[in-house]
């Protein structure tokens, strides 16, 4: 018989050791698979590091992805802490980008100092409204937010596609479905070679850490996540807390959309996110919804994402290998969480019989 037994409360040291062990196992496992595919795993791993860090251009690419992932993960984390399963980051990202683009295309002549804050504000509002819809539906009808937020993603993407090939199509693009580039004033400026979104992201990390750790709202969000009944019993206005937290969640994802459209793409398209909204659900979860950890996890994922294309050019390896490695690593980490709190105990049947006799 195999039984599952709960371990004693884990110490932080043992928790982290388990996770590190999982990552090591994951690299060994994916190494074996890479070898089976006919490549040298050490070469592939080295190339991943080399291609994501050791060249200014590629490091910039890694940072660009990391910044977006951090902001998205922060947005997801606040909702997840409340056990509001917002997997609509992708959609909120696109609506934020839509809000920012609207401002950028409507007022291209405004000075940057006015235009950029307006874009950020509008992106926040649009993202917040997009996440508010499933929250209101949940409150009013009791409908599962997981499914509604998921559906809202695809509605948002279809909307951007519509704009791209319809009303917002750039006549200068000669029939191609493209939205025109932003004016110079609408592009986030570089600071130390990387667009200044990294400063915004770091500020947001600090703000969210403080919010979660030291403010009443953060505490209320955590209580609501633990148990709605407890929150109500303690006299909290659960609806207000939920709506505020959900709007912050969607708003942050919207800001991520603004950054990507303004600084990276310098325009809007229906492939703007490249699936980052879904990746961020994973990064937020792996970081245990804690802002400082989100920074590290996001950066690691950005490295993997960035090196994908480079691997293809350098080693003539399909960039898909990075998705496979990514999948294996996360599978292992997700699986390892179990061993932090539980263990398998093998109890031979013979001993049970012996107990009865004794």
């Amino acid at each position: 018989m195999i039984k599952i037994v709960k371990k004693n409360a884990p110490t932080p040291l043992r928790e982290n050791l388990t996770r590190i062990l999982a990552v090591v196992f994951a690299f060994v496992m994916s190494g074996i698979i890479i070898a089976l595919m006919g490549y040298n795993p050490f070469e592939v791993y080295w190339k991943i590091i080399e291609n994501s860090l050791f060249s200014t251009m590629r490091f910039e690419g890694t940072m660009n992805k990391a910044i977006i992932l951090v902001v998205l993960s922060l947005g997801i984390a606040i909702a997840f802490r409340m056990k509001f399963w917002n997997i609509g980051a992708e959609g909120q990202f696109y609506m934020g980008a839509f809000g920012a683009t609207w401002i950028a295309l409507s007022f291209p002549e405004l000075p940057m100092i006015v235009l950029i804050p307006m874009m950020i504000l509008n992106a926040f509002i649009y993202g917040a409204v997009w996440s508010l819809i499933p929250a209101l539906i949940k409150w009013k009808f009791g409908t599962s937010e997981t499914l509604v937020t998921l559906m809202m993603n695809y509605i948002a993407i279809a909307w951007i596609s519509y704009l791209q090939y319809g009303p917002w199509r750039d006549p200068a693009a000669l029939g191609a479905g493209k939205i025109s580039k932003f004016s110079e004033n609408a592009v986030l400026p570089d600071v130390f070679g990387i667009h200044c979104g990294w400063i915004i992201a770091l500020v947001l990390v600090v703000v969210m850490t403080i919010l979660f750790k030291y403010t009443k709202l953060g505490y209320k969000i955590d209580v609501l996540g633990e148990s709605e009944t407890t929150a109500k019993y303690a006299g909290m206005n659960t609806l207000n807390i939920m709506l505020i937290a959900v709007m912050i969640s969607g708003g942050l994802c919207g800001i991520a959309g603004m950054m990507q459209s303004s600084a990276v793409e310098k325009s809007l398209s229906d492939s703007l996110s490249g699936g980052l909204g879904f990746t961020a659900v994973i990064t937020a979860w792996l970081a245990k919804l804690k802002p400082p950890a989100i920074v590290f996890v996001s950066f690691a994922f950005a490295m993997l994402l960035q090196s994908g294309t480079a691997l293809q050019l350098d080693l003539k390896i399909s960039s898909s290998i990075c998705s496979i490695i990514q999948g294996i690593i996360i599978f292992f980490i997700l699986g390892s969480e179990f061993f932090i709190n539980y263990k398998f105990v093998f109890t031979p049947r013979v001993r049970e019989a012996g107990k009865e006799n004794g």
Binding site: G142, Y162, G166, F278
Partner: protein, 316 residues
Amino acid sequence: MDILNEIGLFLQTSLQMGTHILLAIVGGIMCERVGNMNLGIEGMMLMGASFGYFIGVQTENPILAMLCAGLAGALGALIYAIITVTLRGNQVVTGLVLTIFGTGVAGFIGKTISGISLSQNVTGFFAAYSIPFLSDIPIIGKALFEQSFYVQLAIIVSILCFIYFKKTRAGLNARAVGENPAAADASGINVTLYKYLHITGGGFLCGLGGAYLSLAFLSRWQDDITAGAGWIAVALIIFSTWNPLKAILGAYLFGLLKGLNFKLQNIDMGFTIPSKLLDMVPYIATIVVLILITLRKKKEHQPPAALGNPYFREER
């Protein structure tokens, strides 16, 4: 007569455009019925599509190709089951990762099979054939009886799945696991076994659905072959209120919409409905259905009560 013929042909294409989604929805229903939400449908479809085509090219054996496609999907589902059922990982996150993983696997295998075409042996096997007399029935004749057998298989699988969950002991046990695993466990049902079997079985169908695209519908490999069909399947699972018979309706309505979209672009009506806005319809319809089923509170239409919750026997 001419217009009847036209409608018949239109229905025929609609069914072809909904078949991969139908298989995926039924696979998803099997999984969700035992209480697990698997957002990895897209990944399992891609694994099935690529493996199926790979085996089809290598062995020129269509049956073996279909079988391997299903097994590839089931393998993906097995990884998901180990993590979510035995190791109690988060279902949403695991499903998303499965999609990333499946996309990677398909991309890798796709490199070896892109540009290589299937042998006559395989394409001939999956080609549409017509059943005499039956295919002459107006309107529905062509749609049902002049098709690839893959299309008919999907319909048969859905009906069998419906009967399974409605009439058989095993099917009812499975539903009990999805509704209240603790009670099911207490009444002697092996919850873990049921979950494993239905999750991998559902994965098998998703893989089969993906392979329909590469083996039968397109008969060639292309990158991102499913083009988001797995996500539409996730939506249509809800639209069908976890009922495999309604899944047939949902999948073909979607096929119809796709076909209509295509037609509308070629017919001049003086105004045009932008096709991108039509793309929203299945998702908006799903949200509306979700709200309606929560409002009506009819027991038949509710999601499985324990959907998304892991089951810890010790923490009952």
